[in-house]
């Protein structure tokens, strides 16, 4: 079975705004799938629906062959790195991590590599309110990777990271992919997508404009870069 996540007829409206318009999508296991699209395309809503933060109006999500209903336990198999890291101001990173360990249990074991990398910054016992944005983002990454998730959801993971930290995180993503972890990556950085992704899902106004391999996208549009290929899909031709 190569399908990690299967999405069928996923629909969500916010008032009169259609965020997801009957989405059908298959995410392959052990691959990095990039989720791209213009603002308000539905990327965040899709990620939030997978995480159970948003209740879809229609459609089903099937993770590892199990339909996701109201049972929240499936989230123990997910890792999530939100775009902006916000932790309780008065807790220390050590306490935040302890809290999440308490909530998740040992499960599939832990991967302490990024946490040890974070600990080297000497920030483990300082209140979160005193940490810089980049340091918080490193903690955010360490937490997302800590519980050996089967599906890792990364929302603009390198935003706010310095080049060294960004490179370290990308190396980790590649290593996890090699070990068979499925990664869903939302990013506006085309270079990052070309560097990391195997597949690409291009969303526009809640619908899928393209879903498939990066190489196939270039071949289909006759463009040499992903950026130009997406512009061609949008009907803009050569940007």
């Amino acid at each position: 079975m190569n399908t990690a996540l299967e999405i069928r007829g996923l629909g969500k409206r916010f008032g009169s705004v259609v965020a997801l318009d009957g989405l059908d999508l298959t995410i392959e296991r052990g691959r990095v799938t990039a989720l791209v699209g213009p603002n308000a395309a539905g990327k965040s809503t899709l990620i939030r629906a997978i995480l159970g933060l948003v209740h879809p109006d229609t459609g089903t999500l099937v993770l590892d062959g199990e339909p996701l209903g109201r049972d929240w336990r499936y989230r123990g198999r997910l890792g999530y790195m939100p775009q902006a890291a916000h932790f309780p101001d008065n807790l220390t990173p050590r306490e935040v991590v302890a809290m999440l360990r308490d909530l998740r249990g040992s499960g599939a074991g832990t991967d302490e590599e990024l946490l040890e990398w974070f600990a080297q910054s000497g920030a483990m016992d300082r209140p979160v309110r005193g940490l810089s944005g980049g340091t918080r983002q490193k903690l955010n990454a360490a937490i997302a990777f800590l519980f050996r998730p089967a599906l890792l959801i990364l929302d603009e993971p390198t935003a706010g990271l310095d080049p060294v930290a960004s490179g370290r995180l990308k190396d980790k993503i590649r290593a996890l992919r090699a070990q068979g972890t499925t990664v869903l990556l939302s990013s506006h950085l085309i270079g990052e997508i070309e560097e990391l992704a195997d597949d690409l899902v291009f969303l526009v106004e809640g619908r899928i404009r393209y879903a498939g391999g990066l190489a196939e996208l270039k071949a289909q549009t006759g463009e040499r870069s992903v950026e130009r290929a997406m512009a061609a899909l949008l009907g803009g031709g050569r940007a």
């Binding site: 933060l53 989230r75 123990g76 916000h86 309780p88 809290m99």
Partner: protein, 263 residues
């Protein structure tokens, strides 16, 4: 339940270290301490604290509660992305917010009494009622704060709503009762006024405490009716039950909104 306890433990760590909660406890302590130092006896201090409790406790609970829930929004989302049920998370968040505020109130008002008050039998009733009223008002107004902050995504609306609820309960409501009384002064109003009083937590706190001091005689016939109802054991239970209901109803509504909400 286990998840609730785990979330509560860390929420308590976080909120108890919050400067606002520490300043709130210190302010109550200094005020109560000062009232003792200015020569007040235990009973007089309780009476002087009456309006502080009725005005300050709801205001701090409503405003701090609303701001706290908005401030914790992103972390709440991160917790919701963990294998935790929404009910457990909600309960942990509410208790993690209300218990430290209740603790700050108890410590701020209670410690000076332990330090200064001479133990006399006449003090215990009023003091216990003061502490009960303060604690219940804390739970009522943090429940309202959680409801508003969960319902409104817009922080300005939530905070505005919290201030409005506080204004309505602490100030406007009594004015409205006065208007009703003057408009319908030709009719027997004791029953309706009693019912209206039962609907406002701040008024309930006030009545509960004033009746401890035999001041109802100053309020004429209505005072006598109030004394007969609220002064009885059954009346006191009704007041406490009404305050509990006023905490539970917004809390149940907030839980319903929280479980259905799209984050």
């Amino acid at each position: 339940m286990r998840a609730t306890r785990r979330i509560l433990r860390y929420e308590l760590h976080n909120v108890l270290r919050s400067r606002t909660v520490l300043v709130y406890a210190a302010l109550l302590f200094l005020l109560t301490d000062a009232l003792f130092r200015f020569g007040g006896s235990g009973a007089r201090v309780v009476l002087s604290l009456l309006n502080v409790v009725l005005i300050l406790v709801p205001l701090v609970s409503a405003l701090f509660g609303t701001m706290y829930v908005y401030g914790a929004r992103e972390f709440t989302e991160l917790l919701l992305a963990q294998p935790v049920g929404r009910r457990s998370l909600f309960t942990g968040l509410y208790l993690g917010l209300s218990l430290p505020l209740a603790g700050a109130f108890l410590a701020g008002v209670g410690l000076p009494f332990i330090l200064h008050a001479t133990p006399e039998a006449a003090l215990w009733g009023p003091l216990l009622m003061l502490l009960a009223a303060g604690l219940l008002l804390t739970f009522v107004f943090t429940a309202v704060a959680v409801l508003l902050a969960t319902h409104f995504d817009d922080r300005a609306k939530g905070l505005g709503g919290a201030i409005l609820v506080w204004l309505a309960c602490a100030i406007i409501y009594d004015g409205l009762i006065l208007l009703v009384v003057s408009w319908f002064s030709d009719y027997p109003l004791e029953g309706p006024v009693l019912a209206l009083t039962l609907m406002n937590p701040v008024d309930l706190g006030r009545v509960l405490l004033l009746l401890q001091f035999d001041t109802a005689a100053l309020m004429g016939y209505t005072g006598a009716v109030f004394e007969r109802f609220f002064g009885s054991a059954g009346g006191r239970v009704a007041v406490l039950a009404a305050l509990v209901v006023q905490a539970v109803v917004p809390l149940a509504l907030a839980l319903r909104v929280f479980r259905r909400k799209d984050f």
